[in-house]
Amino acid sequence: AQSVTQLDSQVPVFEEAPVELRCNYSSSVSVYLFWYVQYPNQGLQLLLKYLSGSTLVKGINGFEAEFNKSQTSFHLRKPSVHISDTAEYFCAVYQGGKLIFGQGTELSVKP
């Protein structure tokens, strides 16, 4: 069975600094990976997804992620964060028609 591990439960960062949120998945022949964001008191919004092709995936709000098969990782990055990026971020893997989520990373952007 697929699983996802988000290595950091909380990431504090100053505004305009770069950020990386780490995600590792269990190895599989083929894998579909997703990053979602959950703003306070809201549902989940898809940031980006990797299905196949280019290992560098660009998403909304300036986020991107790189699929690394050898390291079984799918880390999310943004070169310069804003206060409005403060939210919970979830990495997820597709398995048997369902999404399996990591534990989430709380990104806190401070002025």
């Binding site: 997703f34 809201q42 898809l46 369902k98 399996i100 990591g102 534990q103 989430g104």
Partner: protein, 115 residues
């Protein structure tokens, strides 16, 4: 991608009662799911709602506690039965379509507090 309307957005319920949550999609979708997000936790899949047949439940979830209906390709309900404070969570509906290329769309969730 599909647009989901989930109702109610929040509720406070007495223990021992039941609450039914509705999920309405603006287009026909193949797959509908119900998730639970306990306070400060990640999302856990409760079940897959199957159109015209019984839902498929994940380990740890049973039909008597979380009965699900899906009468057509655009609508589903989740009932949280005989509630206790431990059921206080956010419940989210999610949909995807056959090719899954647009990813999985989520409703805004129902924030349930059981007192």
């Amino acid at each position: 991608s599909a647009v989901i309307s989930q109702k109610p957005s929040r509720d406070i319920c007495q223990r021992g009662t039941s609450l039914t949550i509705q999920c309405q999609v603006d287009s026909q979708v193949t797959m509908m799911f119900w998730y639970r997000q306990q306070p400060g936790q990640s999302l856990t899949l409760i079940a897959t709602a199957n159109q015209g047949s019984e839902a498929t439940y994940e380990s740890g979830f049973v039909i008597d506690k979380f009965p699900i209906s899906r009468p057509n390709l655009t609508f589903s309900t989740l009932t949280v039965s005989n509630m206790s404070p431990e059921d206080s969570s956010i419940y989210l509906c999610s949909v995807t379509d056959r090719d899954r290329l647009y990813g999985y769309t989520f409703g805004s969730g129902t924030r349930l507090t059981v007192v």
